[in-house]
Amino acid sequence: MPSIVRRVVVAFATAGAVIGIAGGALAQSTADEIEKYREALQDGNPAELWEARGEEMWKAPRGPKKVSFAACDLGLGPGVVKGAYARLPRYFPDAKRVMDLESRLVWCMENQQGVAPADATKNVFGNGSAKRSDLEALVAYVTSQSRGVKMSVPLDEPHVHDMYRLGEKMFFYRGGTHDFACATCHGDDGQRIRLQDLPNLTKVEGAQKAYTTWPAYRVSQGELRSFQWRLNDCFRQQRFPELVFASDASIALTTYLAGRANGAEYNGPAIKR
């Protein structure tokens, strides 16, 4: 090492001290520093770039029928975006189905804008030919319009209540080569995988903290990821087959987790590692 560098490093190296600390103190200082890292990221969230793109898409005429999302009812009336995400999933009589935001957006594309079903979900999660799809931008915009709104999924509605109970069963369903269930990693307090804190989703506080910060800009991927993506990628790591986008099971699990988060202020899209 050239002398100048050695001098600088010796004179001012601070992080090096971390190496010397053992056991609990080390884990604590690591956790504190990771917390500082997360705080530093809050200063600017690239999710805003998606929100801006999504807002334009929401307002523009789209699809073969040249219809904008002004006709799309997210549960609070056609085109109403403010606060809509905090009340999803919900039962939509026109579709005869409980829907989350993403399945509802796809329904509007197909049924109002005339988009072919295959096209509406072609590149979800950035699969296929594109790195990203319009859906992430639309999701970023719609969710941003519930920022500060209290989560209130209509669990009293019988269809929603049934999906909640099915989602709960799914959460505890162990299977695959590794015996994993959602609960394996998200069923206890204060646990981590590597250095990532795992929210205990069986408790209201844990579910609230987790659900209200999705979708999120993932710095590890440089992309905005939706809640459907979150579930899909959890099951991949659970060694399960692929969870189909907007499938009943994906909506049931979303209903369970969103319902657990009821009462908490929605605070997405967030920025995460």
């Binding site: 200063d43 600017g44 969230n45 690239p46 805003e48 770039l49 801006a52 793109r53 800009y217 440089g222």
Partner: protein, 103 residues
Amino acid sequence: MADPMKIRAHVVGDATEVKVLMSHEMETGQRKDAQGNTIPAWFIQNVKVMHDDKVVLAAQWGPAVAKNPFLSFKFKGGAKGDKVKITWVDNHDETRTDEATIA
């Protein structure tokens, strides 16, 4: 055509605080795609921030600046209603200029 920047400019005391997010891949040229082919470098090389006709910050970036770059700094002066104009140029000679009003 690149997506617009997200620029925030606020008066803080006697200075103006500028925060900007840019939409850019900032591809390093060192990564490989699924087929094993190198993904060519594609990154912003120059950034210039103007207040009126004055350059208040100029930067040269390499590909080690993070994807969807973020930059925050302060300059003296600037009044509510003034414009802050930011331009970037990347190594493909693509460029984008956006403007924000100081709040």
